[in-house]
């Protein structure tokens, strides 16, 4: 059960038209090696689920600039003007989701939950086409799970069975996405032997990770 593979082997698992979750927050905690590979191999028509579309020269932003995306589900696109431009030009579909709701929807997808009730977005455009449920006199939106065919996450330290430690603010959506996809591939900044990560400090257990690729830059 060797999970460590090369970036070329990873590309067997990424295809045109796929729905992919990508970790990171404005590029921090985003696995850039997979972004590079997707660009290099000409992969296109992707649906990306991520917090944001990064910056034009960083993270998912690079996929937007190179027009590899068909649809984006994200909470913020403001730091990458190209996303808004493609959205207004109707060449890119953008679904905006409040950040806390996005986290919960991905969590539901990974945790076998059918949805969650949140007060966020009540009375706004976010409530369009959603069921409203009143609990103890307070109205909530029923928000539904998100899942993907593939999750591309970034680990600061990853051991050989796939246990992941995320350093500082690189954690963000990565551990949530590692639960919510059919296949999970982690880009590792550092690969270590089993036992080198204290079991208390594992943030994504190795049982959730299918493949590990080294070479993530700090």
């Amino acid at each position: 059960m060797n999970k460590i593979i090369s970036i070329d082997d990873v590309m067997e698992h990424i295809h045109d038209g796929m729905t992919i979750m990508v970790g990171g927050f404005m590029g921090v905690g985003t696995p850039e090696i997979f972004i590079n590979a997707i660009l290099d191999k000409g992969i296109k028509d992707l649906t990306i689920i991520a917090n944001d579309t990064g910056l034009p020269d960083r993270g998912i932003g690079r996929l937007v600039v190179e027009k590899r995306l068909k649809k984006v589900i994200a909470s913020h696109i403001g730091l990458n003007p190209e996303t808004g431009k493609q959205m207004n030009d109707k060449v890119l579909e953008v679904e905006l989701v409040p950040q806390g709701t996005l986290a919960e929807r991905i969590r539901c997808g990974g945790h076998g939950l059918g949805g969650v009730l949140t007060p966020t977005g009540i009375g706004t455009l976010v409530e369009e086409n959603k069921e409203k449920i009143v609990v103890n006199g307070i109205a909530y939106l029923l928000e539904l799970p998100l899942r993907a065919e593939l999750a591309l996450i970034r680990g600061s330290i990853v051991d050989k069975v796939g246990n992941v430690f995320y350093n500082a603010s690189t954690r963000n959506f990565n551990p949530l996405m590692a639960m919510a996809a059919d296949k999970v591939i982690v880009g590792a900044q550092r690969i270590v032997e089993v036992k080198e990560i204290d079991p208390n400090n594992v943030m994504t257990p190795g049982i959730l990770v299918d493949y590990i690729v080294g070479g993530e830059k700090p």
């Binding site: 404005m26 403001g78 009540i122 603010s169 963000n172 959506f173 700090p218």
Partner: protein, 219 residues
């Protein structure tokens, strides 16, 4: 929209914060609030990308690429900080564990409703964490320039897509402090040199003048 105006707003908002408060400051003007905390007041800053204990900007050359704020700028963390994932971060926000959030706005209205995440067809940055912050924080303070070059931003009713309905508690501008109450907006303070007519000219919403109208303390 001079530096001075923003500083007036940041200085006044800083006085709303109490020692020990957990505070989330939006990107831009709200971030400046941290520079003007009253003596003896220490707050814990929450950064929605995943930590509490946000510190100062690092010195040049000492940046840690893994430590950024929600605007992707390099920051430091203070002693006692803690990192967490995005679900926990918004659990803290939505769950009422943040005492105060300070946000900017494009429009605020008499109900305390707020618009700050999009101008349809023009500028659509997205709501990011703003909708959760307004629905979850115990106190929501809007810090913004009073009007858009004379065009009111404090309205009877917002015209842009809402960020939240009835979420705002206090509006602080370079001209005034306005409280959102059950009976509408109440003008509580005027900036030095500003009179009521100045305010009314640049405000569309109905304002009740507080019996105890004060001058804004911006020292």
């Amino acid at each position: 929209m001079s530096i001075n105006a923003k500083e007036i707003i940041a200085r006044r908002i800083a006085k709303e914060l109490k020692d020990g408060d957990v505070v989330n400051l939006g990107i831009g003007l709200p971030t400046m609030v941290a520079n003007f905390l009253p003596k003896g007041v220490q707050v814990v800053l929450q950064s929605e990308n995943g930590f509490v204990g946000l510190g100062n900007t690092p010195d040049k050359g000492l940046e840690d690429v893994d430590v950024v704020n929600a605007g992707a700028q390099f920051v430091t963390i203070n002693d006692g900080a803690a990192y967490f994932d995005s679900a926990m971060s918004f659990g803290i926000i939505r769950g009422g564990h943040v005492d105060v959030t300070v946000l900017g706005a494009l429009e605020v209205d008499e109900n305390g409703s707020l618009a700050n995440y999009m101008i349809p067809g023009k500028m659509i940055p997205g709501m990011g964490g703003a909708m959760d912050l307004v629905s979850g924080a115990k106190k929501v303070i809007i810090g913004m320039i009073h009007s858009a070059k004379g065009n009111p931003k404090i309205l009877k009713e917002c015209t842009l897509p809402l960020t939240a309905v009835c979420g705002v508690d206090l509006i602080v501008t370079e001209m005034a402090v306005i409280e959102v109450t059950e009976n509408g907006l109440v003008l509580k303070e005027l900036a030095p040199g500003i009179n009521i007519n100045d305010i009314l000219r640049e405000t569309d919403a109905h304002l009740t003048i507080d019996d105890n109208l004060k001058t804004m303390d911006i020292l």
